[in-house]
Amino acid sequence: MSFETFAEFIDMGGHGLYVWLSYAIALVVIVLNIVNPLMQKRQIFTEQARRLRREKQAS
């Protein structure tokens, strides 16, 4: 363990802003990368399901 107290951990020896900002950006990029294809998938599925229903009605 490199830190004695939680406050020290947050402070990161005065570099807290930089370290936490980096990790926060990393988290955002990772989450966006996962959420984006999942949303896309939902959109494709609803779109295609609608198309299939339309085709079924037409035939």
Partner: protein
């Protein structure tokens, strides 16, 4: 076709979007769990247990994001170009889709590498941006990604877009070593050798191990996102085939 005969069997199967969809469905949870464990564990290790650097103090902990993302951004470009080449030569649809899925992931990871590099630069150099050779190379890599994405979205026909971007990605791949060399050289010419972010004689084992964990974790994360995008792409392009219809209506 006769020219495919010497290919091993898995190559044929990989070429089938349906098989690819099924196999990624099985692999996805495995990689997702691995990525989660490695990234959470690696982050905890990096932030809490790894010792601070004697020169840079705790800002050194940014390396555990910066280096893996920089490595991943480069590998991702390579994968994109190779997949594009396979698609171009053997007309393998799945390879085209892999190449297309790579671009946005790679671009976002390159942005992450640049952002963390810039943030790390502030406490180290006292400025948000320094024309360091590695950062500059990464910036150019991001430009290459953006070019690929722009070209892909500008061409309407999916097939033409895939082929054109494959050619561009390959041209970029040939150029990357030249760009890297010239930027490195330019950097030594214009700046007295300051110490760079990541080049150091030898990293202590307790610093190096969490870095390794994070690198592997990032690769697993890439595999997960890659497969997610690939599966979307497969569904989108194979929407008229019977198995996709069943999948959607079922």
């Amino acid at each position: 076709m006769a020219e495919k005969k010497w290919m091993p069997r898995w190559f044929y199967q990989l070429a089938s979007p349906r098989w690819c969809y099924q196999i990624t469905g099985k692999l996805l949870p495995i990689f997702a769990v691995a990525a989660l464990i490695l990234l959470v564990g690696g982050t905890a290790w990096a932030l809490i247990y790894a010792p601070a650097d004697y020169q840079q103090g705790n800002s050194f902990r940014i390396i555990y994001i910066h280096v893996p993302s920089a490595i991943l951004a480069q590998s991702c470009y390579m994968m994109m170009a190779v997949a594009g080449a396979i698609g171009l030569i053997w007309k393998m649809k799945v390879a085209d889709m892999v190449a297309k899925a790579c671009a946005p992931i790679g671009a976002s990871i390159a942005i992450l590498a640049l952002a963390t590099g810039a943030i790390w630069g502030k406490p180290t150099w006292g400025a948000w941006w320094v024309w360091d050779a590695r950062l500059t190379s990464m910036l150019i890599l991001l430009f290459l990604y953006l070019g690929v994405i722009a070209l892909n979205s500008a061409i309407e026909s999916e097939q033409t877009a895939a082929q054109a971007t494959a050619v561009l990605a390959l041209v970029g791949l040939v150029n990357i070593p030249i760009i890297k060399y010239s930027v490195d050289w330019w950097n030594t010419l214009h700046q007295p050798a300051t110490f760079t972010l990541t080049e150091r004689p030898a990293m202590a084992m307790e610093m190096w191990l969490p870095l390794l964990v994070m690198v592997i974790g990032f690769y697993c994360f890439f595999a997960v996102v890659m497969m997610l995008r690939l599966r979307n792409e497969i569904i989108q392009r194979e929407r008229r085939s019977s198995w996709v219809r069943e999948l959607i209506s079922g």
